[in-house]
Amino acid sequence: MRPLLGLSLRQLLGRRRLLLLLLLSALPVAVAGIIAGFAEEADSEGFVNGLLDGMIVGAILPIVTMALATSAFGDEIEDRTLSYLVLKPLPRWRIVVPKLMASIIVSGPLIIAGGVGATVIAFEAGVQPALAVAAALAVGVIAYASIFTWAGLVTTRALGFALVYVILWEGVIGSFLTGIRYLSVRGYALGILHGLDDESFEAVAERAIELPAAVGGAAAVTLAFALLTVRRLRRMDVP
């Protein structure tokens, strides 16, 4: 799997959009800096609801992961290089796993660094909340990467699909149908955040699902979409 992981990392790191994603990931840190500079006293509820849930978990986490994971296979299809990979005597999961890992390895550190950095600055956070944010974002990255890697293989309009999923499913529908939280990556991330440090993240208590449900849900989604990607790779007509 190493040559394929190496290839996928070079593909993801070599594109200009990485710079854009780097800036996007750093945005919460800048916003947190501004908040910390101007606020007279720390507004933990405002930070958790606005910056952490609204901006980081709700927008930057899915957008950065989406941009990288949809291109894991999407670029191979667009550049017509996918046949170099599939015409090899490899079980298909050995093609999917390194692609997925590359998306996680590239987007994970960007998002986690931005999220943890913002938390530490604005929240004057200690180790526990910082770890909770890191864990929640890591799980979010893994689950989103799995969904969007699949989308990149299934449709040439994967970005459109991903935006509809995030905005419509997790945003609009999720806001009035509470059960959606159990079927949404944002729900899993908030569940882990609150589950690991309910004191610091009291503000999301109403929206957070139970920790075991969040971890189990994220694991199930990740596994299910990875399997769907393997199945798709087996059955699709390769251009």
Binding site: R10, S83, Y84, L87, K88, D237, V238
Partner: protein
């Protein structure tokens, strides 16, 4: 010569060995477009040319043979096993797709090594060196592929296709972008591989490319297998067909009147700009036209074939 739905051996002779590629009543359609229409054929060790105009369905047929696409109907087998969903077979198969895209950031050597690693070759240095040497690109192997010319890229892609020493080669338009010298080297390389008992299928839309190389030809037109067999037999059939030749001279009437008396000319049509001659023996016509013009003292301004395109050649073969 034509192949309707019967099994074509692609040899014109009874086969002595088992077919390495076998396609049985295979069709493939995309929505309402039929790309491959009820094709049955068998391919044996040696070099087989898959010939047809652009859009004839050659690439789709090759994809079906390589298991890259699911047939809408029928069955494709490779080395006696189903071609689709059988990844183990790729260890014995080398495919060079028509599109020429590569990972531009890889050096030539990295690209071939990448292929070797995915094939599980260990140790791989010797195989990689041998493959790159066989396409004559040792000097350029450490340059990124994006700096390669089109012909070089094609050759390095061929090296990556050959690195695991496959028994069966499916090469889709491998000569695109190569110059005449590279073409001769390619032909020699293919002949060596064929002499070693490998099965090689090479597609092309250019008759002459395959003529020099393949001893068996499959002709595809509009998704159907139009003809299959020994190249010479097909070539003779093609030579028999009447060609239209457009001739422009200083005096169309006098030249037209003289041309109609020639044995090799079937008919002559004269208009204000040119003479259009229909001839069944175009080789003889090539010799007699300049001679006639010289005898009559008429200036010969232009001689050009009107229907040299493969489409017209194939429609003739299919129509027989």
């Amino acid at each position: 010569m034509t192949a309707e739905s019967s099994h074509e051996t692609g040899t014109g002779e009874p086969p002595r060995v088992a077919a390495t590629i076998s396609v049985d009543h295979v069709s493939k359609w995309f929505g309402s477009v039929v790309a491959v229409n009820d094709v049955s054929l068998e391919i044996y060790p040696g070099i087989t040319g898959l010939l047809g105009p652009n859009g004839a369905g050659k690439t789709t047929l090759m994809h079906l043979m390589a298991g890259l696409a699911e047939p809408s109907r029928g069955r494709a087998e490779l080395l006696g096993e189903p071609a689709r969903g059988n990844v183990r077979l790729y260890g014995r198969l080398g495919v060079m797709a028509e599109h020429e895209s590569v990972y531009g950031f890889f050096t030539g050597k990295e690209f071939v090594e990448f292929s070797a690693r995915l094939h599980g070759l260990n140790p791989l240095d010797q195989a990689v060196d041998k493959a790159i040497a066989s396409v004559g690109l040792r000097d350029a192997q450490d340059r990124p592929l994006r700096t390669y010319s089109r012909g070089m890229r094609q050759r390095m892609r061929l090296a990556a296709t050959l690195v695991h020493d496959p028994e069966v080669l499916i090469l889709d338009e491998p000569l695109n972008g190569t110059d005449p010298r590279q073409r001769i080297e390619f032909e020699n390389q293919m002949r060596r591989l064929a002499a070693d008992g490998r099965t090689i299928l090479i597609s092309s839309h250019i008759l002459e490319e395959v003529e020099a190389l393949a001893d068996r030809i499959l002709l595809m037109v509009s998704g159907k297998l139009a003809a299959a067999g020994d190249f010479r037999a097909i070539r003779e059939k093609l030579d028999e067909r009447p060609y239209k030749v457009r001739i422009v001279t200083g005096d169309q009437r006098a030249m037209g009147a003289a041309l109609i008396r020639l044995d090799e000319v079937d008919s002559v049509a004269i208009d204000a700009d040119a003479i259009v001659v229909l001839s069944s023996n175009v080789r003889a016509l090539q010799r007699s036209v300049p001679r006639l013009a010289q005898q009559l003292g008429i200036r010969l301004l232009r001689v050009e074939p009107l229907d040299e395109s493969l489409e017209s050649v194939f429609s003739y073969v299919v129509g027989r």
